[in-house]
Structure formats: structure tokens, C-alpha cells
């Protein structure tokens, strides 16, 4: 897959449409596609920000078990992902711990990890691993790659255990920062690092 194709898939993911729709972007330079993705992400996350902030504020009045129920039954993964970066970190972590891994995987796919870095970093390792396992089962390499930039190293190491060998090159290909590929390779046991193609493993 070319780097333009990778970016197109990421843009399509943010917009919730099939990547084939944006085939006409293949000749656009990768840096421009990356900037477009950043602009689209920012625009979507900042849309309705006033309402989202009021909802996050109102969440302080409600107990966490009820908020977890609301997240799953009413808000759904898209809105939960939008609000996640706006709630108090401790509250967000406690709510996340109460939610099933499949729902957290749905939220992860919609999340901008940069905006919820505090919550992500605060999640207990077993929760992270269960979500990574679910994402790997879905072969959602885009989401796994986006989280490699945000998770603490111990959580990345534990998550790598549940990513199958055939998924590693896919995750490496989806990383925004090529330097992170070398970082991941360093965290892998030797026999697994060898599963990465030379052009990715560096």
C-alpha cells in the first residue's frame, strides 16, 4: 500500500466513509493529505464543542456507574469519543474501566488520542490489552497505530503480545511517525521483529 493510500484510509476513517470514495486523492502529496486529515479531525472535534463541554460539565453531577451506562446505551462510541477529552481525567478513567472492551474498541476507533491522552495513559494495563486484543481481532490496524503514540511503554509491550505477526507490518505502515517503527521494533522480541519487512523495520 502506498503512503498516499494509507493517508486516504485514515481520512476516510475520520469522515466515516469508504476509502474508495477518495481515490482521486492518490496523486496529492502525502504531507498535504496529512495536513488535510489534521484539519478535518480538528473541525469535527471542535464542531458542537460548546454543547459537548456543557455535557462534560454536567457529568460532574452524576455518578460514574450511571455515566458508563449512558456512554454505552445513549451516547454511543462517536459521542463518547468526542466527550472523552473534555471530562476530568480521573472520572474518564473510572468510567472507561466500567465499560466492556468491545465498546471501548468502538470508542478508540473514533477517538483522537491526542485529545484524550490523559485518560488513555491512565487506563490499567489489563484494560488496554483487552481493547488491543479486540482491535486486533477486528484487524483495525489504523486505530492500534494511532494509540502507539499515546500509550505508556509498558502498555505497548503488553499490547504487542496480542497483535498477531501478520498485523505487525500493517500497524507499522499506519504509524504517523516513521521513528515510531524503530521504537516498536526495539520493544519486540527478536523473532517477532523479523516479521517486519526490511523497509519498515529500518
Amino acid at each position: 500500500m502506498s503512503s498516499a493510500d494509507t493517508e486516504i484510509r485514515k481520512i476516510a476513517r475520520v469522515l466515516g466513509v469508504p476509502p474508495e470514495r477518495f481515490g482521486y486523492l492518490r496523486d496529492v502529496p502525502e504531507a498535504d493529505l496529512r495536513r488535510l486529515r489534521d484539519q478535518v479531525t480538528t473541525t469535527l472535534f471542535d464542531a458542537h464543542l460548546d454543547v459537548l463541554e456543557r455535557m462534560a460539565g454536567a457529568s460532574k453531577l452524576l455518578p460514574n456507574p450511571l455515566l458508563a451506562k449512558l456512554a454505552e446505551k445513549v451516547f454511543g462510541p462517536l459521542l463518547a469519543a468526542r466527550i472523552a477529552g473534555l471530562v476530568d481525567i480521573g472520572k474518564g478513567v473510572d468510567i472507561a474501566k466500567r465499560l466492556p472492551p468491545a465498546f471501548l474498541a468502538d470508542v478508540a476507533a473514533e477517538l483522537d488520542p491526542r485529545r484524550a491522552a490523559g485518560i488513555i495513559a491512565g487506563l490499567p494495563e489489563p484494560v488496554v490489552v483487552k481493547v488491543a486484543d479486540e482491535l486486533a481481532r477486528r484487524e483495525d490496524w489504523i486505530t492500534i497505530a494511532r494509540f502507539v503514540d499515546t500509550l505508556p511503554e509498558s502498555a505497548i509491550v503488553a499490547s504487542l503480545d496480542v497483535i498477531p505477526d501478520h498485523g505487525l507490518p500493517q500497524v507499522a505502515e499506519m504509524l504517523d511517525d516513521p521513528a515510531r517503527v524503530a521504537y516498536i521494533v526495539d520493544l519486540l522480541p527478536g523473532h517477532r521483529a523479523d516479521t517486519l519487512p526490511d523497509d519498515l523495520a529500518g
Binding site: 469522515l15 466515516g16 482521486y24 502529496p29 473541525t43 459521542l79
Partner: protein, 68 residues
């Protein structure tokens, strides 16, 4: 949003995007507008539906905090 063009929604565009034919820029603009609309609709529905789960005593305070 009144300006439905891509630049109207995003501000200044990357060079490679600005160089795209008008129909492709419009397709991107439409996809972005649809995503925003979907998000807005989900938000409006969630705001109302959530109240059904909130204990009756707390509803006025929540309504006030959210601005419903």
C-alpha cells in the same frame, strides 16, 4: 454553516488539495458536512435520551447544566 465549500469549512487548504478539480473539492466538502451533520444529530438525540436515565431529582440540574 453557510459556506459549504471545503475552504469555508477548513480555512486555508494545503496546496495539493487546493489544486484539486472543483468537483473533488466539493466531494470532500460534502463528506465533511455530512459527518458534522451526523454528529450534530446524534448529539441532539443523546441529550434528550440521556435524561430518561437520570434520576428525576437531578434532571432540573442536568437540564440547566447542559442548557436544554
Amino acid at each position: 454553516m453557510s459556506d459549504r465549500s471545503l475552504a469555508g469549512q477548513l480555512g486555508s487548504l494545503p496546496e495539493g488539495i487546493e489544486a484539486l478539480p472543483a468537483e473533488h473539492q466539493q466531494d470532500l466538502a460534502d463528506a465533511l458536512r455530512d459527518a458534522r451533520r451526523k454528529q450534530g444529530a446524534a448529539l441532539a438525540k443523546a441529550g434528550n435520551d440521556a435524561l430518561q436515565y437520570v434520576p428525576a431529582l437531578l434532571r432540573p440540574a442536568i437540564r440547566k447544566a447542559v442548557g436544554l
